[in-house]
Symmetry: C2
Subunit: 325 residues, 2 copies
């Protein structure tokens, strides 16, 4: 059952199309250089997964209105701003297969464009009194930066428990998807309790999504284009490795931690860590936890009334979590 993003999107195709148009309009500026960059960003848009969560949840909760569009735009503006800033940090020359903004226009411009996007998103919400949406999204930005910083702090001495891992991925990944769902629900005007349920649903999806992403780092199947062992190289301790280390003997644990700490630049040593994780059942364990989050997400989704939008949302969750790369 290969899920197709166009099919999933079908019930809200008009919403997304109209959103794209409005989004481009909201980025208009009289500075020509900036306007050209904005056009470039809009052209290079990805699969639009975040707006899809916003619009589908809004439709599941009731209806789409102007604040739904502004909420989706706010998230896209803030998310694009962080991507543009990330490109500067990583000195990344490519993003989604095209040249990144900083490769084309240099770092200084990239940082300024990020700041412009942030302030544009803020003003759009403030001018329309979307204070609830703004709170949801600001909180997500705060959690995302805290989560990334917590991960870096823990990567330094490699002392990380399962609980800290869950806290990191909840903040750095799940908070963005949960804010999409909360914004969709809040824009539809439902009560606080329903907004909270939508938020929790998004959080479960985000948790499952990140565990899946972390599992790819251990996937050695040839079909996968993504290189393996990157997380180990960057000293990121993810669930499969944390589980395996907890099960290991004191001696084995010391050996593996030493590799991650001091020899993670050697491909052969990284392969040793991967083999250790596989032998210890770390892959199976992480897959089970991922499935647990996925079924919790579905349970929460099932508290909402049935509709064609709910069906699409189910498929979108599956597409997000069960992807093969």
């Amino acid at each position: 059952m290969a899920l197709n993003i166009q099919e999933i999107q079908a019930p809200i195709a008009a919403d997304i199309q109209s959103f794209e148009k409005k989004f481009r309009e909201s980025m208009k500026t009289k500075v020509m250089l900036l306007d050209r960059i904005m056009t470039y960003i809009v052209k290079r848009k990805g699969k639009q997964l975040r707006p899809m969560f916003v619009f589908l949840v809004a439709r599941v909760c009731g209806n789409v209105n102007d604040s739904t569009y502004r909420g989706a735009a706010l998230i896209e503006l803030l998310h694009t701003a962080t991507l543009v800033h990330d490109d500067v940090v990583d000195d990344a020359n490519y993003r989604r297969g095209f040249f990144s903004i900083n490769a084309l226009w240099k770092n200084k411009i990239a940082v300024l464009v990020g700041d412009f996007l942030l302030s544009r998103g803020l003003l759009l919400s403030l001018e329309n009194n979307d204070f609830q949406l703004l709170k949801i999204v600001s909180n997500a930005v705060k959690e995302m930066s805290e989560g990334e910083l917590l991960q870096m702090e823990k990567a330094r001495n490699l002392d990380i428990t399962e609980d800290i891992y869950y806290e990191i991925i909840r903040q750095k990944t799940a908070s963005l998807i949960s804010s999409c769902c909360a914004v969709g629900a809040a824009s539809a005007g439902v009560d606080d309790n329903t907004v909270l349920r939508a938020k929790q649903f998004g959080e479960k999806v985000g948790m499952a999504f990140q565990i899946k992403d972390d599992l790819f780092d251990y996937n050695t199947a040839e079909v996968i284009g993504k290189p393996v062992g990157i997380d180990i190289k960057e000293k990121k301790m993810t669930l499969p490795l944390i589980f395996a280390l907890n099960k290991a003997s004191w001696l084995e644990k010391r050996r593996i931690v030493n590799i991650v700490k001091n020899e993670s630049d050697k491909p052969k040593k990284v392969a040793e860590v991967i083999a250790f994780v596989k032998k210890s059942g770390g892959i199976e364990y992480a897959s089970e936890v991922m499935k647990k989050y996925e079924s919790e997400a579905f349970a929460l989704l099932n508290t909402f009334p049935d509709s064609v939008y709910k069906q699409s949302l189910e498929q979108l969750v599956k597409y997000t979590i069960e992807r093969e790369k």
Copy 2:
């Protein structure tokens, strides 16, 4: 008459002290690495010119209250965020292409800290319903990034008029000081017209401040520590040069523009441009324009009632504009 910042600050010394304490509290986070960086940022604080504008204008307009503190904190958080991001950009340029893991880490952390500061400032305002303050400051962030980008666009082909120069410095510099003054006035609860007058006052101060800063680039007096000709080297067209070029013959103009475009890395050629500007009266002209903005600022300030705070604000304007480095 050498102005001393401590003396100017005296009437609001208690406000500033209390602000610093509250500011540090507002940045508390449970992520240890982040908390350490925050302490470092607070320790490295500068002369606190921005909070001084906020508190003095609030006192001139009426009184200081909790929203004045939050407004000043919002501006400091946003301003610090842009400084932190600037550091990343400069560092990235310096190390182009050759990042060590350590350097990468530092940059990544800096960008995340910047994002954290931004979201922290937002949440602080949102939680307290300071929507007017938030609008003022978001607009300043938007103008600052647009102004910098406009300057870069114009630096490319050096086609810049006096009017465009004023637009650039209004956006990139004056908008921050004017937002400090608008925030101070708005927090004191005065009517929209008075907020606007405070904003315009700050804008005039900011214009004069930037022209003064641009004049330093042509100051060859030995007492000045700042190196001259940096703007020329970076192809930034500022008022003294724009004026001089407008007065020059077609032939001379072509010669000077050619130097800025193609030979601005040669100190001897830069000295030639400086001599040309001086001979053409560019320094005197820019100084006159600066004084015009300064006296317009004082005229606006004089529409406010007399007080010890107004006297301090006058001194602060003089300190800001009449500094010798």
